[in-house]
């Protein structure tokens, strides 16, 4: 009876399989976690819609959803760095601002429009309310924004909505950064969850292993006790595990060598592929600027500092004058901020250490990806709003670029450039039109 031998083989198999299963499950579980996170995002959006309910409205301020969202965009792009709705930042809190300023209805909106357009002019005109503001906030001068009156109304529409909502609780707050934060947390939770499952699974498998070994031992013992055994069975029982035999076994040695060579080759190829890749590169910077604070906590729009990101090839490292917009009044005593003052005084630009070093032979354009493709910054730069010190999140290899071009559908909605291409694409297939489909893998798209 060759039962014992079979049993051992079975044990070995289980060991291997359990490992594989664990991996596979981890993969699918991550995917599931992602999906779950996506679902939650949708729910949040729905909650937003529901929240825009009733409340007292100020005459002259539009209440339609289009104006509110336009206003939100303007607010986040321009005002948010200095104003909050409910708390005082660099400038005053803006809740109910339309009721506070002089005038009634259209008049007050006109006043606000003038003030936003050129606050100094309004102050200089001797307007008492403006004078009062100036006394309170000087020497900070509000930057002039050449908004149309309609745009001011849009912003007010958003402010009105937020005022009615009241101070937001953390759970309902959303934003371009916020979404990703939640997303990141979701993945985090699910991965701990996964490790627990994995631990349990491994524990169970080890348990099975132990049980099986016990069973084998018992069976062998039982057989030994029996006297009427034939030659074959006796052989099995007396079989001793011998390392010597194993070491001289040609098949075993061949397999071992093959595995060794494969592992070495794989390791060295992997190592070679990392030459020049600086993923995770996190150099110390001359000023300890925290994205976690600015982009994360204060939710300053990326575009506010990285001015080129929507219109240029370069996103631009912000110049010191952009820092000074706020830091002429905010945290002026901080040692780090003093460094900026020093740079300005000495007329010596701040020398940041460059993190993302794309080779010169590759052409990358932020405008194409951010403005036209509407890719989130985090797609390539990772959870930037959580980074105290920025590190290189993506490998920035060609394979990474190409892969994204293969998988990403072109953001063709409402862009006449793509109309005909989409039409032609849809004649052929139901799949979405990816960047690859319109030549996004061609050499001269990035190399020239």
């Amino acid at each position: 009876m060759a039962l014992g031998c079979k049993m051992r083989n079975f044990l070995f198999l289980i060991c291997i399989l359990s490992g594989t299963v664990a991996y596979a499950q981890q993969d699918s579980a991550t995917a599931a976690g992602d999906a779950a996170a996506g679902g939650e995002q949708q729910e949040t959006a729905a909650a937003d819609d529901a929240a825009s309910g009733g409340g007292e409205k100020y005459p002259g301020i539009p209440t339609d959803q289009a104006s509110i969202s336009a206003g939100q965009e303007l607010f986040e792009g321009n005002c948010k760095t200095c104003h909050n709705i409910h708390t005082k930042l660099v400038g005053p809190a803006l809740a109910n601002v339309y009721e506070r300023v002089p005038g009634e209805g259209e008049e007050s909106i006109e006043w606000l429009h003038n003030f936003i357009y050129n606050s100094q002019k309004v102050i200089a005109s001797g307007d008492p309310y403006a004078q009062k503001l100036w006394e309170e906030y000087k020497p900070t001068v509000m930057t002039s924004f050449p908004f149309e009156k309609e745009q001011v109304k849009d912003i007010l529409a958003y402010i009105q909505q937020e005022t009615i909502k009241g101070p937001a609780t953390a759970s309902t707050e959303t934003g371009p950064g916020g979404e990703v934060t939640t997303d990141g947390k979701q993945t985090g939770i699910s991965s701990t969850y996964m490790s627990v499952i994995l631990g349990v699974l491994i524990f169970v498998l080890v348990l099975i292993l132990v049980v099986l070994i016990l069973i084998v031992n018992i069976l062998v013992k039982y057989l030994k006790d029996k006297e009427d055994l034939d030659e074959a069975d006796r052989e099995v029982i007396e079989q001793k595990f011998s390392f010597k035999d194993l070491a001289t076994n040609k098949v075993f040695l061949a397999i071992l060598t093959a595995i060794f060579i494969a592992v070495v080759a794989k390791t060295s190829i992997d190592a070679l592929f990392t030459v020049g890749i600086q993923q995770g590169y996190q150099p110390a910077q001359p000023i300890a600027f925290s994205h976690a604070l600015h982009a994360g906590e204060y939710e300053i729009d990326c575009n506010y500092c990285h001015t080129g990101v929507r219109k240029s090839k370069n996103a631009n490292i912000p110049s010191a004058n952009i820092c000074m917009n706020c830091h002429s009044v905010v945290k002026t005593e901080s040692k780090q901020i003093q460094e900026i003052y020093k740079a300005v005084e000495e007329n010596k630009p701040i020398e940041w250490v460059r993190i993302h070093n794309l080779p010169d032979l590759a052409y990358f354009n932020h405008e194409q990806h951010v403005e036209v493709g509407e890719i989130e910054c985090q797609t390539c730069h990772g959870p930037i709003e959580e980074m105290e010190v920025v590190y290189q999140y993506a490998p920035l290899t060609m394979g990474w670029c190409i892969n994204c071009h293969r998988e990403t559908a072109v953001n063709a909605d409402g862009n006449d450039y793509y109309n005909k291409l989409v039409e032609l694409h849809n004649q052929e297939t139901d799949e979405p039109m990816t960047v690859e489909d319109i030549g996004g893998l061609e050499c001269s798209k990035c190399h020239y």
């Binding site: 631009n316 004058n321 701040i350 319109i438 061609e442 190399h447 020239y448």
Partner: protein, 1046 residues
């Protein structure tokens, strides 16, 4: 279908089927120097060394990358965004040459100039204008004001110059300001202030390439002391007597623009102008002429005289007496055509002899061309130099009459025939100051140098044509401690205003007051600055004139209205000074693309092949074939001999270049070479021919008709010609041409498309091709090049070089056939169909017809290069481009071998940051590198490169359209060559866009059976080497010559 049976040849060696040439023609690459027998053998030790080195290099490469800094602005200027180019309207200045341009800047650095379509030249530029941006970043520029060799401060300089001027004034000494043409109203006014302050000031204007003869003739005949403006667009017949108006004449850009318009033909409008040229050197203009007659310079007077007589006979006017007997082919024909096109014709001469020009004026007057093709009421101010005054100045200086001389950006020691006299007399003057930007031949002899800005750093203005003003605004902060010369003159006059305020104020008083569209000066100023130009009737300050007898020799009976001339006196002088025929060797001096020598330190221009001779980095004596035969001279692939040239007392050794089309008994030599103090690029390139210029009757003559001897020395010399490089083998479907008559009769007969014999009868290549073609869903980029309007001027050549960071390789490497230009202008000579024997063909070579063909990567749809690349470094895009990926290329050069057009260039060396290529100034110093286009890679050694169809411009144009949510149009994308082309011969566009210019030019039709889904409907369009069915995306339009013979 009639087959055109002409023989085309690129050089004499090809015509004579020279064995050496035939052998080399097969080789894509020449023998690698040092790889022959005498190449050093490599030992085992070398091998080990190399192994060790590569190992070390590999492990070093694997180390951590060095820390790189990202340094933002401290205070970002509002309108500068890194990565986004800014464009400013400004003006190119070089002596009297003025072009309105648009400056492209990146991160505050000017990197490219394009023509401003609002300018006089309607957006045309020249190679020199395109190249001038590199002069800004010339390491040879002075960085400080200088006193002798020492750097001084501006305060010291001003104080010392002012005190010396004052003491000279107190003594009553004479002060001269010597300059080239000044056509800037503000500079004129500043000079006037200077003259008012120091009283005895004389402003002497001269031009190295003088047009004083034309001015003097118009002074004599119309009382207008200026060169008139010409309007070629109205001319049906043009007769040019030795005027190279498309090449070296002032304002050639505008001429080219107009010429392009009158040389365009289409099926619907099959009319074009006819162009006769009588000249001794084969000039760019002569190469474009329908009928060209070689004449000797000594015949010029007789040619215009006889032409006058022929026309006078028709008009019933009195002929000139004694001017006859010169046998000049085509002259009578030209006269007949001119008479037929009365009022719509133009006779123009290049001579600087006022007598010749007066006769030309008389001819144009007979033809009633004044008021139509010639506008004397709107004179052009590109050349205002006065030879007479300059001569008086030189002799006065020698006599010690001048106490102070100020050279305002003038270099007469180099570029005036009496330069040596000026040089020796300069030491005698009490004060000599130069505002030249470099320490050149003249400024280095001056006591002080007050270096002027480069024009891209300075405010300035100009009035190129009366009533037309162009503003020059700085596109960059001054790089060095230089100062606007206008400000220097103001400072020395005791004014403390900046030149900017001064200029602005002038405009407020002048131009602003002359217009009525706006009442707000700031608005007017901003609008004008934005547009770059202003047109209006404005009185500008007259240049200070001392009341010397400033009259032309033939001023008898002049009046300010209408034409008057004493033609009898002129005729007698012509009879005396010219000959109907002469056996003398005569020398005609000319300028080529490098210009008058002021831009000699620009390596792009030095390496730009002369459009005709295709020679780079040299000047040489162009001699006729008969001279070569008589003296047993031969020339193979640039290998030639030198000759001793003796002119009067001057002797120099010059290499000889046998030039088809050179008139018998004449020689040509280019001016603008032989600089001694131009800088490391321009020094000792060729010989200086300015001292050879004759001064006749106080007019500088560019022809030397007597006392010229040439003696071959037997010394060998190599001229770096590019012409026979990259030959397209022995194929006859490269150039297509026809006469206008034939074209009118049957437009379809102009181009004979090749056909192949198959079992099913004759078939076109596209019917039997093995290739599947491509689906172009998005764009399909292409070029259309009209051989009819391409003048060969080479502006595209430089534009391409600037745009695409193309290195300069130097003379040695050009000799090794390793020039890197992505676009070349092939110049083909052709012999007429009748020639059967070589003898006849060689005779034809005495005056061949010329065709220019810009040749760049043809972006084949079935590209032969793509199939042979072992690493797929060259591939086809879904937009019709043949892409070249440098970082993938391993340098096998298979692609270049397989390219039928020979347009691929291999980087044999590292041309950047390499001391051995220090003439490649744009890539070898921190300063020079500022000119590089940041969107284009600087290629490394060992990779192949070629025309990319300016893919960086395509990508940015597409992106612009995408952000605006629309399809791109012609305005969004154009290539550098197409943008630069002054005659609009090159048109770039999307073949799939039905609204594009190229789509309509090529009359593209949809064709289901064609692999690329389209068919070209234009009769004249063809692809070079169509029989190969490589299916290029570059289309050429057959050349049409306006000849009577069918």
């Amino acid at each position: 279908m009639k087959k055109v049976n002409k023989t085309y040849w690129k050089g004499l060696e090809q015509l004579t089927n020279d064995t050496e040439f035939v052998k080399n023609a097969q080789n894509e690459f020449p023998e690698v120097p040092g790889e022959g027998e005498d190449a050093p053998s490599r030992s085992r030790r070398d091998f080990l060394k190399m192994m060790g080195f590569s190992l070390a290099a590999a492990s070093l490469a694997a180390c951590e990358a060095p820390i790189r800094k990202a340094i933002p602005y401290l205070n970002k200027p509002v309108d500068v965004d890194p990565g986004i180019p800014n464009y400013y309207a400004s003006t190119y200045f070089n002596g009297g040459d003025v072009y309105s341009v648009v400056v492209k800047t990146r991160e505050g650095r000017p990197i490219k100039l394009d023509g401003n379509k609002h300018g006089v030249a309607e957006g045309a530029t020249t190679g020199q204008v395109e190249a001038s941006v590199l002069n800004l970043y010339d390491t040879n520029r002075l960085q400080n004001p200088k006193k002798g060799e020492a750097d001084i401060t501006w305060e010291t300089l001003d104080a010392e110059v002012k005190s010396k001027l004052s003491s000279i004034q107190a003594k009553g000494g004479k002060i001269a300001v010597v300059s080239e043409t000044v056509n800037s109203p503000s500079i004129k006014k500043a000079l006037k202030k200077f003259a008012d302050k120091y009283q005895n000031v004389e402003h002497v204007m001269y031009d190295p390439i003088s047009e004083y003869g034309v001015m003097a003739a118009h002074k004599a005949t119309f009382g207008v002391d200026a060169v008139p403006s010409y309007d070629l667009t109205k001319a049906d017949v043009i007769v040019s007597v030795a005027s190279d108006f498309l090449g070296s004449r002032s304002n050639s850009g505008q001429f080219s623009k107009a010429y392009g318009k009158i040389r365009k033909v289409s099926k619907d409008n099959p009319e074009m102008s006819r162009h006769y040229q009588f000249e001794s050197n084969l000039s760019l203009t002569g190469a474009n002429a329908d009928y060209r007659t070689p004449i000797k310079p000594s015949q010029e007077g007789f040619v215009v005289g006889q032409l006058y007589n022929l026309l006078a006979k028709k008009a019933g006017a009195a002929p000139l007496s004694g001017v006859s007997g010169a046998e000049v082919a085509n002259l009578e024909k030209a006269a007949n055509d001119l008479w037929k096109a009365k009022g719509k014709s133009l006779v123009i001469a290049g001579s600087n002899d006022p007598d010749v020009q007066i006769v030309v004026n008389a001819i144009n007057n007979l033809l009633t061309n004044y008021g139509s093709t010639i506008n004397i009421d709107k004179p052009a101010y590109y050349r205002l130099g006065n030879d007479r005054k300059m001569n008086a100045f030189v002799s006065g200086l020698a006599k010690g009459e001048y106490s102070a001389v100020i050279f305002y950006n003038a270099n007469p020691v180099y570029n005036h025939p009496k330069g040596d006299q000026i040089a020796s007399a300069l030491s005698k003057v009490e004060l000599s100051v130069a505002t030249n930007g470099t320490s050149d031949e003249t400024s280095s002899l001056s006591q002080y140098i007050a270096p002027d800005h480069h024009f891209l750093e300075a405010w300035n203005d100009a009035e190129p044509v009366k009533g037309h003003f162009t503003l020059g605004q700085p596109a960059i902060r001054p790089l060095f401690k230089t100062r606007n010369a206008g400000e220097s003159f103001l400072a020395w006059s005791g004014e403390t205003t900046s030149y900017y305020d001064f200029l602005r104020n002038n405009w407020k008083e002048g131009q602003f007051a002359a217009q009525s569209s706006t009442g707000d000066f700031d608005q007017f100023w901003n609008e004008t600055l934005y547009k770059g130009v202003f047109a209006g009737d404005v009185q500008t300050a007259e240049i200070t004139e001392t009341a010397t007898s400033d009259e032309a020799p033939a001023t008898e009976g002049q009046s300010s209205t209408g034409f008057t001339a004493n033609l009898a006196a002129v005729a007698s002088r012509i009879k005396k000074n010219y000959k109907a025929s002469s056996s003398n060797i005569e020398l005609a001096l000319y300028t080529n693309g490098t210009g008058n020598g002021s831009m000699a330190n620009n390596p792009w221009l030095q390496e730009m092949p002369d459009p005709i001779t295709k020679a780079t980095w040299d000047n040489y004596l162009t001699v006729s074939q008969s001279f070569a035969r008589e003296n047993g001279l031969e020339m193979k692939e640039g290998q030639t001999v030198t000759a001793t040239l003796k002119v009067g007392g001057q002797t120099m050794e010059v290499p000889v270049l046998i030039q088809p089309g050179q008139a018998k008994g004449t020689m040509g030599l280019a001016l603008g070479y032989g600089r001694k103090k131009a800088g490391k690029v321009g020094n000792e390139v060729g010989v200086n021919a300015y001292p050879l210029l004759a001064v006749q009757n106080e007019f500088v003559s560019f022809n030397v008709t007597e006392g010229v001897t040439v003696e071959p020395t037997g010394n060998t010399y190599k001229i770096a010609q590019t012409q026979t490089h990259e030959t397209v083998m022995d194929r006859d479907s490269i150039i297509k041409e026809a006469t206008l008559k034939q074209y009118k009769k049957d437009p379809n007969s102009v181009v004979d498309h090749p056909e192949f014999h198959t079992s099913e009868g004759k078939k076109r290549p596209e019917a039997i091709t093995l290739w599947d073609g491509h689906d172009y869903n998005n764009h399909h980029w292409g070029l259309a090049i009209d051989l009819n309007s391409c003048t060969g001027c080479s502006a595209c050549h430089i534009a391409c070089q600037v745009e695409n960071n193309i290195p300069v390789v130097g003379k040695e490497e050009v000799l090794n056939r390793r020039e890197m230009h992505w676009i070349r202008i092939d110049r083909y000579y052709s012999s007429p169909e009748s020639a059967d024997s070589y003898d006849e063909m060689e005779n034809a070579a005495d005056n061949p017809e010329v065709v220019f063909q810009p040749m760049m990567c043809q972006h084949c749809n079935n590209a032969p290069c793509e199939t042979v690349c072992p690493v797929a470094a060259t591939t086809h895009s879904s937009e019709g481009l043949n892409q070249m990926t440098y970082n993938r290329c391993i340098g096998t050069r298979y692609c270049a071998n397989n390219c039928p057009y020979k347009v691929r260039r291999f980087n044999w060396f590292k041309y950047h940051d390499n001391k051995q290529f220090d003439k490649n100034t744009a890539q070898n110093s921190a300063l020079g590198k500022m000119v590089l286009n940041p969107d284009v890679t600087v290629r490394a050694r060992g990779v192949m490169e070629k025309c990319s169809l300016c893919v960086q411009r395509i990508q940015s144009g597409k992106l612009k359209a995408k952000t605006e949510g629309r399809r791109p149009n012609d305005e969004d994308v154009t290539t550098a060559c197409a943008a630069a082309c002054p005659s609009d011969a090159i048109v770039f566009g999307d073949l799939k866009n039905e609204d594009s210019k190229i789509h309509n030019l090529l009359k593209i039709r949809k064709a289901e059976n064609d692999a690329n889904g389209m068919e070209i409907g234009e009769e004249r369009a063809y692809a070079v080497l169509e029989e190969l069915r490589v299916d290029p995306n570059v289309f050429y339009f057959a050349k049409i010559r306006n000849k009577d013979e069918a």
